[in-house]
């Protein structure tokens, strides 16, 4: 069987079938279309202005590793003029996060970007290992999700950055759309497909990989021999998310456009939701000073629950930590 030629350049042997288009393409053409499509997404959404300080939320996993690499490439190729940083959260999970942070530290060297690591321990007074000791393995993903979100915002404030890029890819977003439908959470359905969101704080979060298929991210990392860490979180998996993922991968296997189609369905909900999000009254958390729509922000209400289970000592300790954070944020403004 003669080798199949690339359908873009007609010169070189094809090495990849693009899930999005079905095209057979060679390695060089793959790099070109992969990077250019991300650049186009960035330009269409008007994500940056020259001189922006931008943090890449770096976990050491495939998506954020490829994101850091590609952002560096595009920033240089198209003169975005961005000051790029790596921002990592140490959840305090021994045997998982300590290993992946080693990967991030290597990325820091490889991509020559400053790295900031913040831990749950220093922010909240609790590591995930200790939270799991306390609450068991059933709801720990809830804690981790809320804490991580806030921790990234606080880390960004700490390094003077008001824009965080995350490695969420098209598969992740389609999966979240499905999850929101399965939970009946229509309020989040449109929001989760937005390329940029601004949450309870003033810090923007964007997803330059919004339209990038996971398969292409993994192939890109493989061909470029990028250094990433891949292990399941030892406290995972969120079983419900696991079902959504399996379902999505099955759909994709029979019709690859399913991923983008689901994102488009979510986007159809987008406009009305924006209005709703803006209408929500904002206040600050009475415990830590973080922006919140309730008396206590989500992280602090979780912390209070944890501390009630722990007795008085931890409450005092937690309060001090909370105050530190509030002060830290104020200094940064």
């Amino acid at each position: 069987m003669p080798p199949k030629l690339c359908q873009l350049c007609n010169e070189t042997r094809a090495v990849l079938k693009r899930p999005k288009t079905g095209q057979h393409i060679c390695r060089e053409c793959f790099y070109y279309v992969f990077e250019t499509e991300i650049h186009n997404t960035i330009m269409e959404a008007n994500l940056f202005s020259p001189g922006d300080r931008v943090a890449i939320g770096a976990s050491g996993g495939k998506d954020s590793t490829v994101l850091a690499y590609v952002m560096k490439v595009l920033n240089e190729r198209y003169n975005y003029g961005l000051d790029l940083h790596l921002l990592s959260i140490d959840e305090g999970i021994r045997g998982y996060r300590d290993d992946s942070l080693e990967t991030v530290k290597r990325n820091q060297q490889q991509y020559d970007m400053p790295l900031k690591i913040l831990s749950y321990e220093e922010l909240y007074g609790w590591s995930m290992d200790r939270i799991v000791e306390q609450v068991g393995r059933k709801n720990n993903c809830t804690f981790c999700g809320v804490f991580r979100r806030q921790a990234l915002d606080r880390g960004a404030a700490n390094i003077g950055v008001d824009h965080i890029l995350t490695g969420h890819n098209a598969d992740d977003i389609a999966e979240t759309v499905l999850m929101n439908i399965m939970r009946g959470d229509i309020a989040r359905l449109g929001r989760c497909t937005l390329i940029t969101t601004q949450g309870e704080d003033t810090i923007k979060r964007s997803k330059p990989f919004k339209y990038v298929y996971e398969k292409e991210i993994v192939m890109y990392a493989y061909f470029k021999k990028l250094d990433y860490f891949s292990t399941e979180c030892i406290y995972s998996p969120d079983a419900y998310r696991g079902h959504a993922r399996t379902f999505l991968k099955d759909l994709e296997a029979s019709r690859p456009s399913a991923i983008i189609d689901i994102i488009h369905s979510g986007e159809a909900f987008e406009v009305r939701q924006e209005v709703k999000a803006k209408a929500k009254a904002q206040t600050t958390c009475k415990r830590c000073g973080y922006m919140s729509s309730n008396e206590l922000c989500k992280a602090c209400s979780l912390l209070e629950g944890l501390e009630r289970g722990m007795g008085g000592l931890a409450v005092v300790r937690g309060r001090c930590r909370g105050l530190d954070v509030a002060e830290m944020k104020q200094k940064d403004r």
Binding site: K4, E232, S236
Partner: protein, 119 residues
């Protein structure tokens, strides 16, 4: 009986199912039973008279029966790799090479990468 020598690599977290081995070398019989029975074939004594040439489908069965250490459902589903596992044959997407039907040749390098682990 003739054999094909292969290099097989696991990454993206799949190596954890294979005793943390990222790379193995193995020899498969060039002809395998048409029902993909690997247990006998692994011993090398299969009756190959009614067989077919060893293909990637057979390799997947063989790996599951002989090298997989835990949670087989994370590797195989419905007789092939689970959706979300990418396969490369000599650094080319297996979707361009006939997927499970690809007939293995001596010296082939087969890579299995999981995309299912965190980003």
């Amino acid at each position: 009986m003739s054999t094909v020598s292969l290099k097989v690599e696991f990454s993206g977290g799949l190596e954890l199912l294979f005793n943390n081995q990222r790379q193995i070398k193995l020899d498969l019989p060039a002809q395998v039973p048409s029902d993909s029975q690997t247990v006998v074939a692994a011993g090398g004594q299969a009756d190959a008279s009614e067989g077919r040439p060893a293909d990637v489908r057979y390799l997947i069965h063989w790996l599951k029966d002989n090298r997989l250490k835990e949670r087989p459902e994370l590797f195989v589903e419905n007789g092939t790799v689970r959706p979300g596992i990418l396969v490369l044959i000599n650094d080319t997407d297996w979707e361009l090479e006939g997927e499970e039907e690809y007939v293995l040749e001596n010296g082939d390098d087969i890579v299995f990468i999981s995309t299912l682990h965190g980003g």
